[in-house]
């Protein structure tokens, strides 16, 4: 089971909310070798989905070029204080993580 995400969602001017997400993940590229010279297999977050009160507002396909412990920021139009923002990710090994935050 992966470590939890840190999600902050703050309402901003113009009826939007700014969402900041920190994910805990190795994001191994598959290009590196270990001390024995063997290729370290790629291990990265492949799909990220964001929901606002249960409705999908964003879906992203990621590649190994995204950094370790990635940071993601986006804004959601129409999100108010008290709304729920849910983030899901799935990595290429099938590991999943879902975390939720309330817009403040």
């Amino acid at each position: 089971m992966a470590d939890p995400m840190r999600i902050r969602a703050q309402s901003a001017a113009g009826g939007k909310a700014t969402v900041r997400v920190l994910m805990s993940h190795e994001m191994e590229t598959g290009q590196r070798r270990d001390s024995a010279g063997k290729v370290i297999p790629a291990w990265f977050i492949q799909e990220v989905r964001a929901e606002h009160n249960g409705k999908q507002v964003m879906r992203a396909e990621w590649s190994p070029s995204v950094s370790k412990n990635p940071f993601l920021q986006f804004s959601v139009r129409g999100a108010k204080a008290g709304d729920k923002v849910t983030i899901h990710w799935t990595d290429n090994k099938g590991d999943k993580r879902t975390d939720e935050a309330t817009v403040s």
Binding site: D3, P4, R6, L22, S24, N69, F71, Q73
Partner: protein
Amino acid sequence: MKPITRAAVAAAVTAAFCGVAWAQAKSAADGIAEYRKMLEDGNPAELFEAKGEDLWKKKRGPKNASLEQCDLGKGPGVVKGAFVELPRFFADTGKVQDLETRLVHCMATLQGLDSAEIAKAPFGRGEMANVTALATWVASMSRGMKFNLSQAHAEERRSYEIGKRVFFFRGGTHDFSCAACHSAEGQRIRLQDLPVLTKNPGDGIGFAAWPAYRVSNGEMWSMQLRLNDCYRQQRFPFPGFGSEITVALGTYMGVNAKGAESIAPAIKR
């Protein structure tokens, strides 16, 4: 016609060079500050803080105990403000200990984990990764507070004197000491400003910035690992995790940083 053109070109080139020089003077310091500002917003150190807090409260080890009774110097279980007063003398061990050695002590006494085994583990692996996460969380609980190390006990003053000697001790293939890089204003390694550690370097600089998340390798670095890498760069053998020398260097830097505000855990390039 020709000489005039040449002169005009020369003037234009001079102007361009001045422009470049000015732009570089600006970008060297301000550009890095701008970059750090951008990174600050999503400091992955937060992930380690969360992990550390969880580890503090979780029952672990052969004794199946949490660390909530750990005394970091301000009484059992008091975490807030502990970081800015470490290293300090502990009567129960009869030694001056820094944050990490104290955490290892608590893991051994409260949870029954093998302290020698932990100290031997490479940074970022096994229980050592847990010590770093715990240190990150403990440091975060003193964010914004000012360093105020005690020098009341004779052992604390002795530790400071040892630290000072070690700081100025030259050796290794490059005849380096800590002071070679950290005792003059305006020194850099590549684009990294080197703090002057013989005095208070200012808020959130030097001792007041570690543990820190290193963006370049995606690792959380504790003060012990920071020192380990300084020694590697000096081509010195590392005195060992939690050794008297590394703790003494912490005392020296911490006492010198009196009044500096802690921003730990910070983010570094």
